[in-house]
């Protein structure tokens, strides 16, 4: 499978980001994308042959593994489009690590890579349209998240500024979450279904450790980590200013990604989802957690657009909304499947 290659590509790209060989980085990223495309098509074909359901109905996006892989694919494609449009490679240093992290997560965690048979509800032509468009939108939103965070990093100067505190805490929490999850994986060496992992193992090495002492120490360490990110966050700004990005450009990319993501999310995620739900379950809207969280995400981005276009909010305020929007996206996509129950729980299998 091409994912190992793709992962190495991103790491290679990271290594090259400071050097002048940006073209090489782009080439490697494109090569990664192409090989991943082939891998997806191969899996698609294998699935179609296996299920005998015809090509269009067997899109490989039916479980967590496949959807994450497709998400990475969309993200890299979106990034390459931006690189091409804005003739600027600096975003790559922020986007490719996300892709790399997701792939690493897929690889390390117990997400099942097997091709699984479809439950009857998923056998529909709407699967392809609904899931593809949702993920294209998710990828666009994650681009807006990266540029939004970059914007905040560049534009905040004082440590006491609310937006500075906001981005350091957000970034710090993300890092903390990843580190503690990484610790769990390293300690337990388990490959189980994600929801089992969450119920039985997650944070058991740190925040939920059976011994109270370790628990307290982890909380203190976690807080210390946040404090360090907060204390030294400005260093990131110095790094960023070396790249050739202006805050205005970041603001524009954030807006454009949302302007592309929002209509696609509305049509593919909400409307197609509603039509499909109507056909399969007999209700186009049932307030199940996935639907509700999509609506919450939709509302946050609608908030962003109205704040920006009508109220004339610019800069830091809207960047914060964009970042918050993406946390809602993550929760819609992963949190709902893993933490809440509902009709939509296919992805977690």
């Amino acid at each position: 499978m091409a994912y190992i290659t793709a992962m190495m590509t991103y790491i290679a790209y990271l290594a090259f980001r400071k050097s002048q060989i940006g073209i090489m980085a782009t080439t490697i990223t494109v090569a990664g994308l192409v090989s991943q495309t082939f891998a997806i098509i191969l899996r698609w074909k294998e699935f179609a042959d296996l299920s005998g359901m015809g090509f269009l109905r067997s899109a490989p996006m039916t479980n967590l593994y496949e959807s994450l892989v497709f998400f990475v694919w969309c993200l890299i494609l979106g990034y390459l489009i931006i690189e091409f449009r804005f003739k600027n490679r600096s975003f790559g240093a922020f986007v490719t690590p996300i892709a790399g992290l997701v792939l690493a997560f897929i690889d390390l965690s117990g997400v099942s890579k097997d091709i699984q048979p479809l439950v009857p509800a998923l056998k529909s032509n709407w699967l392809l349209a609904h899931v593809t468009m949702s993920f294209i939108a998710y990828a666009a939103f994650s681009l807006s998240f990266s540029t939004g965070i970059m914007y905040l990093i560049l534009r905040t100067e004082k440590r006491t500024e609310p937006s500075y505190i906001f981005w350091t805490v957000t970034l710090g929490l993300f890092a903390l979450l990843l580190v503690s999850m990484g610790l769990d994986f390293l300690t337990f060496h388990v490959r189980v279904r994600p929801e089992i992992f969450i119920h039985n193992y997650l944070f058991r090495t740190s925040f939920l450790h059976p011994s109270a002492a370790v628990k307290i120490v982890s909380y203190i360490l976690g807080a210390a980590g946040l404090l360090i990110v907060w204390r030294y966050g400005y260093l990131l700004r110095t790094v960023l200013t070396k790249f050739n990005v202006t805050p205005d450009m970041l603001d524009e990319v954030t807006y454009k990604s949302i302007a592309v993501g929002f209509p696609i999310f509305t049509l593919g995620g909400l409307i197609f989802g509603a039509i499909w739900a109507d056909q399969a379950w007999g209700v186009y809207w049932s307030w199940d957690p996935k639907e509700t969280w999509s609506l919450i995400t939709w509302l946050i981005y609608a908030f962003y657009l109205h704040a920006r276009m009508i109220r004339g909010w610019r800069g830091k305020k809207v960047a914060i909304v964009a970042v918050v929007g993406f946390t809602a996206v993550i929760f819609t996509y992963l949190g709902v499947n893993l933490l809440l129950s509902g009709l939509h729980s296919y992805g977690s299998q």
Partner: protein
């Protein structure tokens, strides 16, 4: 400013209801309350919610929080008065905000575009100023040509010192926002009609049974005005697993005692009759029916003669063409052999239907064994004939979701309108462009000014294109 003072209370209320601030507050309110709604189980078992609250807030706080959230309707919040209130406020905000803004936008759309004086053209954010050779009269044609190449069909006015051009595009794209906003209203109205004039109900229909009504969530009986019968129900599994691949019910609709429609339904393929739609949603075994069903066997003798027979549990039958008679001893809906070699039933679903049959020839027991519906190799008898176990009919029910929703088409219309509206609002813009040509000592000074509501960079590229075409023509004229 004077107008500000004259504002009456009605004006103030109007402004408040039309404000984007209110919209943003409602967005936030709906979002935050919905988050609570996804954490607490809706219309679920109260004990579960108490447990969730205990896990989140600890033993001491949970009971208080529970009674508060129960009183506020958080256990069924999407149907509570205040959530409905948010939606009503949201619609009112949408309508008033649109009425408030529409006249201004309408004026902008219908305002004819005309020439602008040079000093105004210079003020636009997108613009270029340069001179080209020749008097305006001769330069005019190449300007028109360049404008057309860049996609602008400009109006033209002769002025004292030269010419003035003006063009606009996509002025109706400014309506995209309104289409989007109204589409939300359509969706809400459609939903309202569905709630008021439609119903949602459930019906467990056993194989062979006929029903004229279903039951809604609160136990109310809803009559269809016709009858529906489940002829048979069938599940297909993946390979040897117990994972259902497809389940299908064969349904027949009777109106006034006459058959009017026959259709088999699966999960993504429902049946609709007179506005009422039947969705395949679940299945199961009718309690107490396991010994009541009818077997459907197809016996095939050695010489290939096949006969269908329909015995019941405990019945005896002869296999035609042989001297063998059979007696049905036992049935299991899901047979498995346990570690001690005993046959056990492992599920209360028809996952692996099996029937125990005792065969005898001229009065002597010769053979007895389990015949498995999902394993045709068990159908073969030692003497070469075969008993095909096709079905055990009448023990399963099909779970149907029954719905009537006259508002669904309005909702769909709203969805289509929203897609179109969003597309227009985000991907189409309304650029306007002015050009003046002024004579300047045998050359012509060209001034371009342009503005757009969206996508400025695209407009900048188009203006650059006009400039470069004019530049090329100049070189060509040399």
């Amino acid at each position: 400013m004077e107008q500000e003072k004259k504002k009456t209370i009605a004006d103030k209320i109007w402004d408040f209801l039309a404000s984007v601030k209110l919209a943003i507050v409602i967005f936030a309110l709906i979002a935050i309350t919905s988050i609570i709604g996804t954490i607490l189980e809706q219309r679920g078992d109260p004990a579960n919610n108490l447990q969730i609250l205990t896990r989140l807030f600890g033993e001491s706080l949970a009971p208080t929080l529970f009674s508060i959230s129960e009183k506020l309707g958080f256990m069924d919040m999407y149907h509570s008065w205040w959530f409905t209130g948010f939606l009503v406020l949201f619609s009112v905000n949408l309508i008033i905000c649109s009425i408030d803004r529409l006249p201004r936008i309408w004026k902008l759309i219908h305002e004819p575009i005309g020439p602008l004086p040079a000093e105004k053209i210079r003020k636009f954010a997108v613009g270029k100023e340069f001179t080209i050779r020749g008097k305006p009269d001769s330069a005019k044609d190449s300007v028109v040509f360049a404008l057309r190449k860049a996609g602008f069909h400009a109006g033209e006015v002769k002025e004292e010192q030269g010419y003035s051009f003006f063009a606009q595009q996509g002025k109706y794209s400014r309506l995209g926002v309104f289409i989007t906003h109204f589409s939300i209203l359509f969706i809400l109205i459609g939903a309202l009609i569905g709630i008021r004039f439609g119903f949602k109900a459930h019906l467990n229909l056993p194989e062979g049974a006929v029903s004229a009504a279903a039951f809604s969530g609160n136990g109310r009986e809803i009559r269809f005005g016709f009858e529906i019968r489940c002829d048979t129900f069938h599940v297909d599994f993946y390979g040897n697993s117990d994972m259902p691949k497809e389940y299908r019910s064969w349904l027949t609709v009777f109106k006034n005692g006459r058959e009017v429609l026959r259709k088999s339904i699966t999960v993504n393929d429902p049946l609709t009759y007179e506005g009422i739609t039947f969705y395949q949603s679940s299945y199961g075994i009718v309690p107490g029916s396991l010994n009541q069903g009818i077997f459907i066997f197809n016996t095939v003798s050695k010489d290939g003669k096949s006969t269908t027979i329909n015995p019941r549990l405990g019945d005896s039958f002869d296999i035609p063409g042989t001297g063998i008679s059979a007696k049905i001893i036992d049935f299991s809906p899901a047979l498995r052999v346990d570690e001690h070699g005993h046959a056990v039933t492992y599920a209360n679903q028809m996952n692996n239907p099996a029937v125990l049959i005792e065969f005898s020839e001229s009065g002597k027991n010769t053979f007895s064994g389990w015949l498995l519906k999902r394993h045709p190799e068990t159908w073969q008898l030692p003497n070469g004939s075969r008993v095909e176990f096709l079905d055990y009919w009448g023990v399963e029910f099909t779970g149907l979701q029954v719905r009537k929703d006259p508002g669904v088409w309005i909702v769909y219309f709203g969805c289509i309108a929203m897609s179109i509206g969003l597309f227009i609002a985000f991907f189409m813009s309304h650029p306007r462009l002015w050009v003046t040509l002024v004579e300047e000592k045998n050359t012509t000074r060209v001034m371009i000014g342009a503005t757009t509501n969206k996508n400025r960079s695209a407009l900048e590229r188009r203006v650059d294109k006009i400039v470069s075409i004019l530049g090329k023509q100049q070189e060509g004229d040399k």
